[in-house]
């Protein structure tokens, strides 16, 4: 079984993004970029399944600008076997990403596609579910445990109030939550080896997908600020303020 892992190049999670002063978006120039953290968890899970003998090949795919090849190299350095870069500049919405991935799935015929549950830039939380819909496959979203079994996969999901386990038949989509695993760091020898692994280049047109956005961004603004309040000197003072000043207890 092949496993396909889509990975997205996003602003590093440690960077505090700034809104551009003209409201046209956020400042991306000279900002550190990394692989979306949930996608690292997806790569790790795929690698563990391969190491456990449940998968034969792990293919990483990224949809984005030329620099997204760096994100693919990260996946290859972690241990993915090869990469596919679908080159496109500008914003590609989850629906268009899902359509492109459907095309990739058509060519590669993986038994499992593991994606991050959301990208930490647009916070959409859609792509995995959309890909499952377009393929007519079952989906195990927000996964905290993945067990490949005969004829399918059992996925334990983080839901409101607890955990839910579902059995998915045949090829399936899994999206990762934080507690699924702890991704490995790439070792230096593996980083060197990754440079020799193949990355195929494609375009959305190769899959017949129109990536024109459906959502027009009218503006991007700073959120309403919140000012720091006061420091209190004691618990008694705190409780008095909560009672008399804030009136919340």
């Amino acid at each position: 079984m092949k496993i396909l892992v889509p990975v997205k190049r996003v602003v590093d999670y440690n960077v505090k993004v700034r809104v551009k002063s003209d409201g046209s978006g956020v400042e991306l120039a000279n900002v550190k970029m990394s692989m979306n953290p949930f996608d690292e968890i997806a790569v790790e899970e795929a690698l563990r399944l391969k190491e456990a003998g449940k998968a034969t090949e792990v293919i990483a795919v990224s949809i984005g600008p030329a620099q997204a090849s760096e994100t693919l190299r990260t996946a290859l350095a972690m241990g993915a076997d090869r990469g596919i870069l679908v080159k496109v500049d500008g914003v590609v919405e989850p629906l268009a990403v899902a359509k492109i991935l459907k095309g990739v799935v058509g060519e590669e015929a993986p038994g499992l596609v593991i994606l991050g549950k959301q990208a930490i830039d647009d916070d959409c939380n859609q792509t995995g579910q959309m890909l499952a819909a377009l393929l007519g496959w079952p989906q195990g979203t927000f996964a905290s445990k993945v067990v490949v079994e005969d004829g399918g996969v059992a996925v334990t999901r983080e839901i409101d109030g607890g955990l839910q386990t579902v059995k998915l038949n045949g090829p399936a989509i899994v999206t990762t939550d934080l507690r699924l695993n702890e991704p490995r760091y790439a070792s230096l020898p593996n980083i060197m080896k990754a440079k020799k692994k193949p990355i195929a280049e494609k375009t959305p047109a190769d899959y017949g997908v129109d990536v024109a956005p459906r959502l027009t961004v009218l503006s991007t603004a700073e959120p309403a600020g919140r000012k720091a309040g006061v420091k209190v000197g004691s618990v008694a003072e705190l409780v008095a303020k909560l009672k008399d000043e804030a009136g919340v207890i």
């Binding site: 830039d121 916070d123 579910q129 989906q139 579902v166 959120p223 720091a228 618990v235």
Partner: protein, 314 residues
């Protein structure tokens, strides 16, 4: 045309986030129908019918919807979709799971986690963990929307909509329910609570978390939250996590204890009305959003706070 709102429930009770999502659904301008998909969920449908301004409640009562798996539920919603201009749900685990599936089947780009309805086709939504607010206009004929319920007030009761039973739609037959473990608790739910007591990494152990945070919450009748660090360390269960990728909350009072205040955590609670922070590091970023900050050791402050609060509440 009308808006279809997906009700959040557990087959026995209507979850309060539904009434908040109803505010957003109503702001779209058309009549609102609520879909209750569940098993033995007539009581939920009756509760939904009482919400003010609801025109009709659709009840799909079938074993197929007992656990609201994405595949059969999406098939049901897609079958209903021709009658609606917009399909809306609260940003719960159920709706976040099923609505993007619905959107793709309808060839619609979903608008996730809206915080404001500017116009029936224009919405505000947070990006980058709430560090920027985007205003987006959808060009899709049909809208599929999830609602950040912390940003909307609840619609009250006063309605008397009709409840119409609708048949189940054929199961795509690709998924089956295995089991669910839902923690039973007498405390209010995180997303509905008026007060939240939240603990961080500084608690140091699961035992300390239980010994310090939970009794304080119970004095206040509060829900318990946690930072990602506390959840990752195993001090608190997954579904207590407040933050960018956990629950987004906006209670009247949020008490952050031993939480440093990473961007991702602030994203989940900075819309709270009053924020209290206790941390021994006076430079902790949590103090930049706190209305009342107390620099101190949580091990001594929390018991003292519990005693003072018990006294103040009489």
């Amino acid at each position: 045309m009308a808006t279809l709102l997906l009700a959040e429930h557990d087959n026995s009770a209507l979850n309060g986030v539904t009434a908040k999502a109803l505010s957003a659904a109503a702001a779209l301008g058309g009549p609102v129908h609520i879909l209750v998909a569940g098993q033995n969920a007539k009581g939920v449908a009756d509760a939904a019918a009482k919400l003010s301004g609801v025109e009709k409640v659709l009840l799909a009562d079938d074993a197929l919807y007992a656990h609201r798996l994405a595949e059969p539920l999406a098939a049901l919603i897609v079958a209903l979709a021709p009658g609606y201009d917009a399909i809306v749900g609260p940003s719960t685990a159920v709706a976040k799971n099923v609505l993007p599936r619905v959107a793709a089947l309808l060839d619609v780009m979903q608008v996730s986690d809206i915080t404001k309805v500017v116009a029936p086709d224009t919405f505000e939504r947070p990006i980058y963990a709430g560090n920027a607010i985007q205003t987006v206009k959808s060009s899709d004929a049909k809208k599929v929307i999830t609602v950040r319920t912390a940003s909307f007030g609840a619609i009250g009761e006063g309605g008397s909509a009709t409840v119409e039973a609708i048949p189940a739609v054929a199961d795509p037959g690709v998924s089956t329910f295995v089991e669910e473990t839902i923690a039973a608790s007498d405390r209010p739910e995180l997303t509905a609570a008026k007060i939240i007591v939240s603990g961080g990494r500084a608690l140091g152990s699961r035992e300390k978390f239980a010994e310090l945070i939970e009794p304080l919450a119970d004095v206040l009748g509060a829900a318990v939250g946690a930072s990602r660090a506390a959840v990752d360390a195993g001090y608190a269960p997954n579904d207590w996590q407040v933050g960018q990728t956990g629950k987004v909350v906006a209670p009247e009072l949020y008490i952050a204890l031993g939480i440093s205040g990473a961007i991702q955590h602030l994203a989940g609670m900075k819309d709270s009305k009053v924020i209290v922070a206790v941390n021994k590091d006076e430079e902790a970023p949590i103090f930049q959003v706190a209305d009342y900050g107390l620099v101190g050791d949580i091990n001594t402050v929390i018991p003292e706070l519990k005693a003072e609060l018990a006294k103040a509440k009489g």
